[in-house]
Symmetry: C2
Subunit: 435 residues, 2 copies
């Protein structure tokens, strides 16, 4: 049996390991770039010098896999899948590889606005090479001002890191709110917080062109902004062109359509990670690119490719990010999202403390629980301190727990960790009053 995997990061390598744990078939992984097994989520902290060397972001080496009899071909790009003859044509260290089972794990790539940009002062951030380029640019040119186009999670993480190394930061967001993964009023709190810190933010502002003379000029429908360099961070799209051009069915927002075993419309071909759909327990298949999901899907795909009957358990849309000293976390369905999806919900929002109110390092926390009319918890959002509390809430959402059951949980209490009434319990209790 010949297993071929396109893409040597979270999903691809998790699959390779799972296949190897079950079979001694031939496993080949091809990777377009020069790095494998890298922690893309750590790149902002590398650029902001919280992490000194990008090598810290590299996980397992080609040699590690070699020892497990898994061949990795870096700088080798798949260009065509001949599904009839089960051959992938490629460019790089070889020109074609035959397969019995194929996994597409090509990831996602940054959206780039439909304007012609040729400047070497305009960056995206997806690969380790991207992060090295940005860091080198800063080192060489000592810029003072950066403009980030897009105020999503990565835009905000990068705003923090650029601020950390002394840059003046402007964020430009097309939508009326920053961070669309959370409700607009919660996002407003974060926007005010960022503004206080000195991050300038323009919402409802669409990029029109980027002009370059001595400096860079950002032209928008809401004014022009002078800057030293630009980070485009307007979201990502699945790298699904290879699949599409081979006649494999695409699904939600152009992600490769998969079933719960991560199989595509072709019985011999699987897809996992950011290029594929993600099964959301409450919403069905969606496009939710995330490193942790890629790892999980890769494991499932690998096992399924060896013939084992497994299903991806699904996600509930849990996400967390640090925004300076404020944490932001969400899971399930938000109030705004529920309205868009026509799901009738109610919600409760409480303000509390992350630790005992008298404990010196306590932080304010705002915690929202979204629930159905029968009290079933369907979503949660937290901003402030102690946002790791999203995990018990994600469990409640995944298990359709009701508010009164959530209120009964025996959560840990000690002043350095929690108020005597944990904010989750307070919110559940207040929510119960609304039923």
């Amino acid at each position: 049996m010949k297993y071929l995997i396109i893409g040597a990061d979270a999903a691809g390598l998790s699959a390779a390991n799972r296949i190897r744990s079950k079979t001694d078939g031939k496993i080949t992984v091809m990777e377009k770039g020069r790095f494998i097994s890298y922690a893309a989520c750590g790149m902002p902290y590398f650029i902001g010098n919280e992490i000194d060397n990008y090598e810290a972001l590299l996980g397992r080496s080609v040699e590690y896999f070699k020892k497990k009899n898994i061949d990795i071909l870096t700088e080798t790009e798949a260009v065509k899948i001949d599904r009839l003859n089960k051959i992938v044509f490629c460019r790089g260290k070889t020109d074609k590889i035959a397969y019995d089972k194929l996994l597409i794990a090509t990831g996602a790539e940054p959206f780039v606005p439909q304007i012609s940009i040729s400047s070497e002062k305009v960056f995206t951030l997806k690969t380790i090479d991207d992060s090295i380029k940005i860091k080198n640019f800063i080192k060489k040119n000592a810029p003072k001002k950066v403009t980030i186009i897009g105020a999503g999670a990565i835009g905000i993480e990068m705003a923090e890191q650029f601020n950390r190394i002394g840059l003046s930061v402007l964020m430009i967001e097309r939508l009326p709110q920053i961070l669309p993964i959370i409700d607009s009023d919660m996002a407003e709190t974060i926007q005010n917080y960022l503004t206080e810190i000195g991050i300038r933010i323009r919402t409802e502002t669409s990029l029109q062109t980027i002009e370059e003379s001595k400096n860079i000029k950002i032209v928008t429908d809401n004014g022009e902004f002078d800057t030293d360099f630009v980070l485009l961070s307007v979201g990502v799209k699945p790298c699904s062109n290879l699949a599409k051009s081979s006649g494999i069915k695409l699904g939600y927002k152009g992600a490769i359509a998969v079933d719960r075993s991560m199989k595509t419309s072709d019985d011999a071909i699987y897809a996992a990670g950011d290029c594929a759909e993600t099964y959301h327990k409450l919403l069905g298949n969606r496009f939710i690119p995330l490193g942790t999901t890629a790892n999980k899907q890769g494991r499932i795909a690998g096992l399924a490719m060896t013939g084992i009957d497994v299903k991806f358990a699904g996600v509930v849309g849990t996400a967390i990010l640090r925004c300076f000293d404020m944490g932001v976390a969400r899971s399930g369905i938000g109030v705004d999202q529920a309205a868009l999806e026509n799901i009738p919900v109610a919600s409760v929002t409480i303000k509390s403390e992350s630790k005992a109110h008298y404990y010196p390092t306590t932080k304010k926390v705002t915690l929202r629980i979204i629930f159905k009319s029968d009290g079933t918890v369907v979503g949660a959002e937290i901003i402030g301190g102690g946002v790791e509390r999203i995990n018990p809430l994600a469990m409640a959402i995944a298990h359709s727990m009701k508010l009164d059951e959530l209120y009964k949980q025996d959560f840990a209490y000690s002043p350095p960790y929690s108020p005597v009434w944990d904010p989750i319990l307070v919110a559940a209790y207040e929510g119960m009053k609304k039923l």
Copy 2:
């Protein structure tokens, strides 16, 4: 209807508030001490100057309750319950109070070893006044050495605080391990950590006498130790003498026996908080004194006293404490405890990181999951960083979740908060291999 409550802290005042939310009957609360509504769990941090004033530990005032038409009589001690005539005799601001429904919320008190100790240099720590006494003693006498008898949670919290203010700390523990709420091997890791910091610890060492001349001499079966003052911290026992002498049935380890509505053997009398039994979902009624449980039981007792049909949901024995830079958390049943209770279990222990391995502030974490032969999670212990992870584990235990279900949870991932594979998921996965 006349409601009488003995004890004006977590359980008693939670009950008073719940009763008031449901009825306009007369509510009286009597309190032996001069303080009400105080955060006992915060006292170590007050003694160690993390919190400057004990006033920060005081919650709601007598006036707050007065406005809600709840009368609080401080410095008034119940001495006898005449159950036949429904009268409580007391000493202090009045000598008797009649009731229709009575709540006993008298709390717990420190065990004091059966040796005659009259020194003013030997302390216990239960009330705010105790903490003020200790703090004043230190201020006045500038001691250099303290000996803590008992290495449980409070002993360890106090060791940290005494160390923090420059004292040399010796801990003496009768048992072979410190911190008996966790498994002995986990406790050993903590003991080694404390020893490295400079806390001296003698286990399997029983106190025999405390002699006082110019200084204090601790005489044990394992040597004599010279010290400037002593904190006795060998655990607490329920304050159940009043109940016992009134013919109310006692239960586990002398705690007042209660049903799930917190009712005692007398239909008109309830008990809640540290003086009463606590229903443990896996083990039945136990003695587990804890502030957060007292609050919950107080709410239940209050509602039940007004005739509402409610039941205390129960705990799973979740506990957390900070030990210098190391966290310690547990829930459910440990391996050692399972052996004592004759419950057959297996366990898995993994070592991981609290955050992404490359993230600067990550800490080592050791996480253990205890499970039955069918994979049902019955316990968990965590030491190191990110010990708030005990809360999702407490949920898994409370809901008899199996390892494979736990492994499927959609936990939050971002480098400043978690490795890409959350330690809980890693442990669940490794545990599944043992089934």
